[in-house]
Symmetry: C2
Subunit: 245 residues, 2 copies
DNA sequence: CGGGGACTTGATACTGTTCAATTTCCGTGG
DNA sequence: CCACGGAAATTGAACAGTATCAAGTCCCCG
């Protein structure tokens, strides 16, 4: 499998998130879950385009996405922006802010979304009493580090086609993990945002998608994507030079 | 300042690491430090080229670098490798392995080095009793996430010259934070490793260094670097198109 | 002192960017 | 409900930035 760019959803307790079903690792007890639920009871709705937090704002809480879709981005002084991730339900955002108590990136809703707020002070306190939670929190943070390593590998050593193939397969996998179709989904982000994430220009994203379509690897229609040939998409990764498709 | 690519050393208690001097945040008490010292007493020496751990090996401990220099790298199936970081004294490595209890990258000594081993189970246990340590550990992990975001920005949206300038300034800053010269230092890594880290080929690294030298921004002599004009190097960042120097 | 890896430099090829012109999509208001 | 307008997406052509290939030099280790 594509070691470099895999995503296990970074999940944590969140009462109103259907936690019991897919969010929680098996090793929490009933009682522990109850405690977590009191902590995670704060939920809020966001509209497409709303900021969950902004770079520079004070850190209070982590956020578990309940429904919807977010992007995180860092901004450069000169206006350049880099999308650092796309987050879907069950994933946690805000981890970057722990280091300085100030958010270092923006989190923006890509569609109407609901989140659970997890006040970090309370989370820390609770995790002192609950080793399972402590371990879980550490794993979530570590998983984010591993994810970032995968993106570095992607940005540092893959060509445009490989990057886009990796991206599509990664989305596919994450949708599948949530019970949605692995082969057919809607992109919530623009070509520009994909490009920013993958380190390429929106025109190149568009061209490469068209090329994949021409080669019958995928079917694109604006934001609708169907993966027609996942084996060949996978084969696109892990190949040093350009490969004739 | 170069927001995107700043590094505060990720430090943690380590008895034999001259901790009191520069490794420890002020908020640990004498007694707490003593407890940490018992934990961090394991130290080991490594020779240039030795692996501290390998991708796939079992996770037991975090490692605090006491002296020397390391690189971490992830390997792709097809043989491609991506250097994900260069670590210097006071920094912690191994955080990626917490997520799965398996190391996801290699750590290799770039020169003879000494490390302190921090058994993670004991670290977790101790941090349950010591909120200061818990908070510190969280900050270290979060800082790594922020660092990775900076590299994504670099890899995703900077040109070769900017990347190299950012890299040199970042090293400079980290040396300075350790009491070494900010303007004159020895590179411990090869052009190839720099290139892998920055997402460019070794020839491009070499050429760009020569170009910087020609423009009197730096003085290079193989692995010896002197930064002659830090303001102009800094100005190189944060400029969208190519700038005549 | 010899040898091999690391580094530099040049010429050329190629991937992806830039600029520009359309076309398509979608939300908004009539 | 349809028409409008602006943003998003597609596509083409020329160009720029790096990669690639190759030759030669330097440095360091044994």
């Amino acid at each position: 499998m594509q070691k470099a760019f895999t995503a296990t959803p970074t999940q944590i307790a969140c009462s109103s998130c259907n936690l019991r079903e897919f969010c929680l690792p098996a090793d929490f007890t009933e009682d522990e879950i109850r405690q977590l639920e009191t902590l995670a009871s704060l939920k809020r709705a966001y509209r497409r385009g709303d900021y969950l937090y902004r770079s520079g704002s004070r850190f209070e809480s982590l956020y578990a996405i309940r429904t919807g879709f977010f992007k995180t981005q860092v901004l450069h002084e000169d206006g350049r922006e880099q999308v650092t991730g796309f987050q879907m339900p069950g994933e946690i955002i805000g981890l970057d802010a722990i280091s300085t108590d100030i958010h270092t990136c923006d989190a923006v809703a890509l569609e109407d979304s609901e989140i659970c707020e997890l006040p970090f002070n309370r989370l820390e306190k609770l995790s002192r009493q609950m080793p399972t939670l402590q371990r879980h929190l550490h794993k979530i943070m570590s998983r984010e580090i591993v994810r970032d390593q995968g993106i570095m590998l992607l940005l540092g050593s893959m060509r445009a086609e490989e990057r886009l193939a990796a991206f599509l397969l990664n989305l596919s996998q994450r949708f599948a993990a949530r019970g949605y179709s692995a082969s057919s989904f809607r992109l919530r982000m623009t070509r520009q945002e994909i490009g920013s994430y993958l380190g390429m220009k929106l025109e190149t994203v568009s061209r490469t998608l068209s090329y994949f379509q021409e080669k019958r690897l995928i079917d694109v229609n604006n934001k609708s994507i169907e993966l027609l040939d996942m084996p060949r998409l996978l084969a696109l990764l892990g190949q040093q030079p350009a490969t004739p498709l």
